[in-house]
């Protein structure tokens, strides 16, 4: 068999370990040891949107706040940082199908055969948000000309239910599929470690009583039917450990 040398050189053959390039090595006569050989995660940087435009950003904030509405005990999707989480994920590898099989041909198949789209989530969000905005603005009546962000919460919920059930069709985008993806991304952002931008102050973990990254429960295995009392810990620690950093 002839290897396609050009493919190899264009990078498809290069293995990614975390974000570092890994070269092939010959290892003999030792257990290899390199300090810090692994790849700790990089916490997201606060600040402006990395992928979304300002308009897209406020729209996603409005969306995630309906998917996870605020209540007196726990913030909603917006204040929990779910939009920031999605923005950073779309700007990163997830946004453009990094590591996935992305070679042609692309055909739609059965549900059992799984997603077959050539488009990554970043492209899908851009198209879907624009189409949703157009849909909202094209409505008549009291809300005529209003974008999703300007609508009352009840009306926003109605639209989301329409997308979910497939009753509302978006132009050029499968709204039902997109809503599923938005739901998944929002809930992942809510529950993932706060280093990724969502779950701010571990609010989602506090809500359910998940202790996070504690890693040692030996003294709790046999304490049956007794609520675990300690507060959650993130990969980045606890605010109380680094006073002043918040």
């Amino acid at each position: 068999m002839t290897l396609r040398r050009r493919d190899l050189l264009t990078g498809t053959a290069i293995a990614l370990v975390g974000n570092r390039l890994a070269g092939a090595e010959v290892i003999a006569g030792k257990l290899p040891w390199t300090p810090d050989a692994g790849t700790p995660p990089t916490p997201v940087k606060p600040g402006p949107w990395e992928y979304f435009t300002a308009a897209e950003g406020s729209m996603v904030e409005a969306l995630v706040d309906r998917i996870i509405p605020p209540d007196p005990q726990t913030p909603g999707g917006k204040d929990a940082g779910c939009a920031v989480f999605i923005d950073r994920q779309l700007a990163g590898g997830y946004g453009h199908h990094e590591g996935l099989y992305n070679l042609p041909p692309f055909h739609d198949g059965s549900i059992q055969q799984g997603p077959q789209s050539a488009k990554g989530p970043a492209e899908t969000y851009r198209a879907a948000l624009a189409a949703l905005d157009r849909y909202c603005r094209s409505q008549t009546g009291n809300d005529a000309g209003k974008g999703f962000v300007q609508l009352a919460a009840e009306r926003q919920d109605e639209i989301l239910r329409g997308l979910e059930s497939g009753k509302i069709k978006l132009e050029g985008v499968d709204g039902e599929k997109y809503f599923k993806q938005l739901l998944e991304d929002t809930q992942q952002g809510f529950f993932a470690d706060p280093i990724y931008g969502g779950n701010r102050d571990m609010c989602a973990w506090k809500m359910i009583g998940f202790p996070g990254a504690r890693y040692d429960y030996r003294d709790w295995v046999t304490r049956h039917n007794e609520r675990y009392p300690h507060p959650p810990v993130s990969i980045a620690g606890r605010p109380a450990w680094t006073p002043g950093k918040g």
Binding site: L3, T12, G23, R66, T74, L100, Y101, S110, W205, I235
Partner: protein
């Protein structure tokens, strides 16, 4: 043109469990061994440290420890006449990658198959008569018995430090263990792990219903352990980040925590990582392997000559390499002839979610290990009379809840909206008072004429090689089995006092996006007849005697257990045959 490397005695493809075992055994026999591994070198302290190993998004959701489909994937279709499409992102199973292979991210559930599993066709035919089996079911005997494998199961368990309660010691049934298991020559090397509240409650209810529950055999350490190679493991901390993750505590049996510290420093061993074997090279007769060709991440192609070639990659990659290298006759489902690609199987998993009164029950689901749990085996294999039920096969079932990680495990009653205030409230209210095992019903999948692997005519990997194509669907036998088992399973949670038990039956068609287990089996199965098996009873290729093929690739059908215990036992069994017979007289170990 490939660059030619100096010849080695042995070339091993893949350095996971079986590659590590074979490399250690054959270097002990004085051979010069090279292992060629597609993925990177990885080790506990450097690559999955306890300050960031517990990252659900990175490892569970984004699959960082696994093979990336960009590197290679498979195509899938339900039926012979359908057009297969590529698996673009993993779903039904998670192919491993890198040193340690699946041994890095498994749960460490370390079972033995039942004695009757190894002589399945003979046993079922004798008990129920041949017409009881579906006409297109292609189950067969393994060519090896439980008694043959017992010493090798024992070796693998003592390597791993498996924790459990024996149920059958030299034929004597032991209280608290699995009374259905085959006889063990000695107890487990370590006592069973302690059990959290959920499994304890399940076991009590199971006893009340007349079953004999026992702790799941676990490769998560119940105490510090020093294995026969002198490698030490530490006690499991029940961190709840085990399966899909690597263990940062040296508490989960893996090649890294049991063999590699001994293997890697040996002078007669060499590892090439980030190097993917693209074919097995044969001499002009096609009856002898001359070595392997591989390509490294710089794109350089290498030829590694070797006297003995051992395939130790993940199930389906072994099959793909044989097909690409033209070793053995490819299986043709139309004529039911040929052996490579035949008898391919997966698993039949289902679950129950049990909601308890939140004012009375607090489960702390995050306190768990990968192989935690209390199980029953009354409905596995042929442990019960299938006559009245009209199906064969079965599985163990248990409260084996391995985590409370919140992206994955925030169960809510099924009628709850998927989002909004009501969803949020339901997540909050049910998290601590719901039991949701990962693989509650761990059912078998038997083999069928129309479930197989071949090479895809359209889709190729990044190197231009055809992808392996999976043709698979559930059959009525397995769906019936699953309904029966799931109903029995639900009764136990009802007995345990659940207010509500939601059954999630496995339903057809087989869906490549829904995770079951990573236990793909078969495709180049072992047996006594070269017409229906690609390998003889020692895992040696019938066609190319200096080629041995490890792993679940050799299972003629899948049993109702996790496969790694049997995979490890078969590796030791094969290594013993190579050392004691093959090296003295290289050639076929069985004459058909």
């Amino acid at each position: 043109m490939a660059r030619k490397l100096p010849a080695r005695d042995v070339a091993i493809v893949g350095l996971g469990w079986t590659g590590s075992i074979l490399a250690n055994e054959l270097t002990d026999a004085g051979l010069n061994v090279v292992a060629i591994e597609r993925g990177p070198w990885r080790d506990t302290a450097t690559h999955y440290a306890p300050n960031y190993a517990q990252d659900e998004l990175r490892y569970r959701i984004r699959h960082e420890l696994f093979l990336r489909p960009a590197q290679t994937t498979f195509t899938f279709r339900n039926k012979h006449g359908d057009t297969a499409l590529p698996i673009r992102t993993w779903g039904a199973f998670m192919p491993p990658n890198g040193v340690g292979g699946g041994g890095v991210h498994w749960n460490a559930e370390t079972w033995r198959f039942l004695p009757s599993d190894f002589v399945l066709r003979t046993h079922l035919t004798q008990r129920y008569g041949a017409p009881f089996l579906p006409a297109d079911m292609t189950i067969q005997d393994w060519g090896v018995t439980y008694a043959d494998l017992e010493p090798h199961y024992d070796r693998f368990e003592y390597l791993c430090g498996t924790c459990g309660t024996a149920g059958n010691l030299q034929g004597k049934i032991q209280a608290g263990g699995n009374p259905f298991e085959g006889p063990r020559s000695r107890p487990y090397p370590n006592p069973a792990q302690q059990q959290p509240f959920g499994p304890t409650l399940f076991a009590k209810a199971a006893r009340e219903l007349g079953y004999q529950p026992f702790p799941q055999p676990s490769g998560n350490m119940s105490q510090p352990y020093r294995n026969p190679l002198g490698v030490r493991l530490g006690p499991c901390t029940y961190c709840g980040f085990c399966e899909w993750f690597a263990c940062a505590n040296y508490s989960k049996a893996s090649p890294q925590t049991t063999i590699l510290p001994v293997l890697m420093p040996k002078r007669n061993f060499q590892l090439r990582d980030n190097s993917e074997v693209t074919r097995i090279n044969l001499d002009p007769s096609g009856k002898r392997a001359t070595g392997v060709t591989f390509v490294d991440t710089s794109g350089t192609e290498w030829e590694q000559p070797a006297e003995l070639v051992i395939l130790a990659a993940y199930t389906i990659f072994n099959v793909q390499l044989m097909l690409l290298s033209k070793v053995g006759r490819p299986y043709d489902p139309q004529s039911n002839q040929g052996v490579v690609g035949r008898n391919f199987t997966h698993q039949t998993i289902s679950d129950c979610t049990s909601f308890f009164d939140r004012s009375k029950f607090v489960f702390n689901p995050f306190v768990s290990s990968g192989a935690i749990g209390m199980c029953i085996d009354e409905f596995n294999g042929d442990n019960f009379d299938h006559g009245p039920h009209g199906f064969v096969g079965g599985g163990y079932m248990g409260q084996v809840q391995t985590n409370g990680r919140p992206i994955e495990t925030t169960p809510v009653p099924p009628e709850t909206p998927k989002w909004g205030a009501e969803w949020k409230r339901a997540v909050r209210d049910n998290y601590q008072s719901t039991l949701k095992p990962g693989t509650g019903v761990h059912g078998s999948m038997y083999s069928y004429r129309d479930v197989y692997v071949d090479l895809d005519p359209t889709f190729r990997d990044r190197l231009g090689r055809p992808l392996a194509r999976i043709t698979m669907d559930f059959h009525d036998n397995e769906l019936k089995q699953n309904r029966f088992l799931t109903d029995k399973f639900a009764e136990i949670f009802q007995q345990a006092g659940a207010q509500r038990v939601v059954k999630e039956y496995r339903q057809g068609p087989y869906d490549i996006t829904k995770y079951q287990t990573t236990h793909l089996c078969g495709g180049a199965v072992m047996g006594n007849d070269p017409k229906t098996s690609a390998l003889n009873r020692y895992l040696q290729s019938w066609d190319v005697p200096n080629l041995f093929v490890m792993g679940a690739t050799a299972f003629p059908q899948n049993a109702g257990y996790n496969p790694t215990g049997t995979v490890g036992a078969l590796a030791y069994w094969s290594a013993a045959a190579i050392r004691s017979q093959y090296l003295k007289n290289p050639g076929p170990l069985v004459h058909a």
